[in-house]
Symmetry: C2
Subunit: 199 residues, 2 copies
């Protein structure tokens, strides 16, 4: 037997999942209340007993989407140098499958330029989620990473997010593939101290 609170939580999860998909596939404007609720198997009227407005939904959906699949891009930490790590992460991230599967893609990339125009609350959430990812990349706290490593991690994120975004934005398969490969090959060049992460 499911209690009422459990029912509500399940509904909320369904809404967040649907919103996450819509956000990534169709962008901030595609994640309309009616469409998301329909995807979740509910009607639009029920929305406001879960979220106070559409903006709040977008923030929560961003968090939810990244919690769900951040590990897919980071994988388990390996015994590897810093440069090897960046190379491994780029190879995982910059794939044709990731380029294609928007609905399960990295939300940071899928929403980049729209986040850049969003309100402060959304940017706050975006930043927070970006920092979580950086912490994992730096294997611990991003804040505590040394300055050089932190800067390289930021450049790495910029590179892979830019690469996958451009690879989706162009028309020809050839150029798109080249963009992915260029990102993969460039990643390890960003690491100056190749010996830091030996473990």
């Amino acid at each position: 037997m499911t209690t009422r609170a459990e029912q509500k939580q399940q509904s909320r999860d369904k809404i967040l999942e649907a919103a996450g998909r819509r956000l990534r596939v169709e962008g901030m404007n595609g994640a309309g209340v009616a469409a998301v609720m329909a995807d979740a198997g509910l009607t639009h009227g029920a929305f406001y007993s879960h979220f106070s407005n559409k903006d709040e939904l977008a923030r929560e959906a961003l968090i939810h989407a990244l919690r769900d699949n951040r590990e897919r891009w980071t994988g388990k930490p390996q015994r590897e140098s810093w440069g090897e790590r960046l190379k491994r992460l780029a190879k995982r991230y910059l794939t044709p499958a990731h380029r294609r599967d928007l609905k399960e893609s990295c939300a940071l990339a899928a929403l980049g330029s729209e986040a850049a125009r969003s309100n402060d609350e959304f940017k706050q959430t975006y930043e927070q989620e970006l920092l979580k990812t950086l912490s994992i990349i730096c294997e611990g706290e991003f804040d505590q990473a040394d300055a050089a490593q932190a800067e390289e991690a930021l450049a790495f994120m910029s590179l892979i997010i830019g690469s996958i975004t451009l690879s989706r934005a162009v028309q020809s398969k050839e150029l798109s593939d080249q963009l992915l490969q260029a990102g993969r090959n460039a990643a390890e060049k960003l690491a100056t101290d190749n010996a830091r992460k030996e473990a």
Copy 2:
């Protein structure tokens, strides 16, 4: 005396400029017909004697916006190595002023993740404009650039577009500044053959 054709061309230019600003500042959905026409000092009804629909406007506005300010980011070619060039370009592109001034910013960055979800016609235009920029970076035809240089130029574009996009998408000024700096410092690392572009 201005002939009727000149009048129309002027109106068209005003519309394209207004659309370019709206596109970059508010995204594809912000460039609504009514808003753009009002910015151009016209009413919405006149729109359809200039463009057949909103999609066509978006494509034309993208071209117009980049023709207007591509040179601002590329500058005049210098006597410099390939690595020096990438460093110089990144320094020009990744500035607080560029981050702030969305309405005169690089449209390729401002529309990245939305272009990734656009229809084929828009992607075609986006690709074509990206290739024009790459040609300038490679000082001539991008197609004719050797494979290594072409790949590095693609990674470079991914890096700087990713950097400026992320720097706009985060909330804190500190992190935003770090993202710009990380991009600037990473750019020259992408050039493997530092001697190619000596002239």
